[in-house]
């Protein structure tokens, strides 16, 4: 079973209240030097069968029509190989 990760982030021009709240809290906790924080979602999909081009295309479609609302969000799809290291980064879409 292979794992595909879909990251969904608000588009840069869209307000991210959650990220802002985190960023504003950091100095109060004694952490300086973080200029910006954006918070998004991470989906880990366990795919049955091979993650070939067709499967990736399908996951791309899931991501763009269901996991993300592309009116306000960008997403990216990555196949995770081995333990933890990502590869085959597929470019973010909008």
């Amino acid at each position: 079973m292979a794992r595909v990760v879909v990251d969904v982030m608000l588009k840069p021009e869209i307000l991210d209240p959650q990220g802002q709240a985190v960023q504003r809290a950091l100095p109060r906790l004694g952490f300086e030097g973080i200029a910006d924080v954006r918070q998004g979602k991470r989906f880990e999909l366990e795919v049955e069968g091979p993650v070939d081009d067709a499967a990736l295309a399908r996951i791309h479609e899931i991501a763009g029509t269901f996991l993300a609302n592309t009116v306000i969000e960008d997403f990216s799809v990555k196949v995770e190989v081995g333990d933890g290291a990502d590869s085959t980064a597929v470019k973010a879409e909008s």
Binding site: P17, Q18, A21, V22, A25, R28, L29, Q39
Partner: protein, 226 residues
């Protein structure tokens, strides 16, 4: 001289004024406390009310936990001062680790607002003395992050020590493990629960019952007898 109960307002706290009203209804003096002030103004007990402090962004209660006022609350709680966390206040108490476990998104993923039946499993804590052991009460529940979780070891410990203070009856509204609606610390002075007793203190308002008043009269009893 009547007992003074502090009610903390964090940015985004919602039920602070209602909690103050409930405190007054029970014949106690309500003292507003502000998140930026470490000074607890010599109160005899503290309530962390419900709401969405800091929007519940990141995780419910996660940001409030670092407020200056919480430093004093933690210190006093450890010294035995009665502390009650209602809903968001309960979430803050778990985030500060004054109470074990954590609160997660409801298993059905929706905000839920309903009249909820609870059983008082421990009528010995600072906040439940006005109730009978095993008494059923009906008070409003309203939250989206109300699913109580902790690992098995912690849950067993809570059960063994009688620290499960409230359990959901008839239906579990959010997937909380072992139907837990509220717990206490080992000493019984710190109690947290998801439902809202402060919204059940007047016959006309809310559920139309006054089942929640006992929380506030319990603390009066304790403070007067202390």
């Amino acid at each position: 001289m009547t007992a003074r109960v502090g009610v903390i307002t964090f940015p985004g706290t919602l039920d602070d004024r209602d909690t103050q009203r409930a405190v007054r209804t029970a014949g106690l003096e309500a003292v507003p406390l502000w998140h930026r002030d470490k000074d607890l103004k010599q109160v005899d007990a503290v309530i962390l009310p419900g709401g969405f402090s800091y929007g519940d962004y990141l995780r419910a209660g996660a940001i409030s936990r670092f407020s200056p006022v919480m430093e004093s609350v933690i210190e006093q709680a450890k010294a035995g001062m009665p502390v009650l966390g209602i809903c968001n206040g309960f979430q803050v108490l778990t985030e500060t680790h004054l109470l074990p476990g954590a609160m997660l998104r409801n298993n059905h993923l929706h905000f839920i607002c309903r009249d909820q039946k609870l059983r008082v499993e421990n009528a010995e804590t600072a906040w439940t003395r006005a109730y009978e052991q095993g008494q059923e009460i009906n008070i409003p529940l309203k939250n989206i992050d109300g699913r109580y979780v902790a690992d098995e070891r912690v849950l067993d410990e809570l059960e063994a020590e009688g620290r499960v203070v409230f359990r959901y009856q008839e239906m579990n509204p959010n997937g909380s493990l072992r139907d837990i609606a509220g717990i206490s610390n080992a000493a019984g002075n710190v109690v947290g629960l998801m439902p809202h007793p402060e919204h059940a203190v007047e016959p006309l308002i809310g559920t139309g019952r006054t089942d929640g008043l006992g929380f506030f009269t319990s603390i009066l009893k304790r403070l007067v007898s202390a």
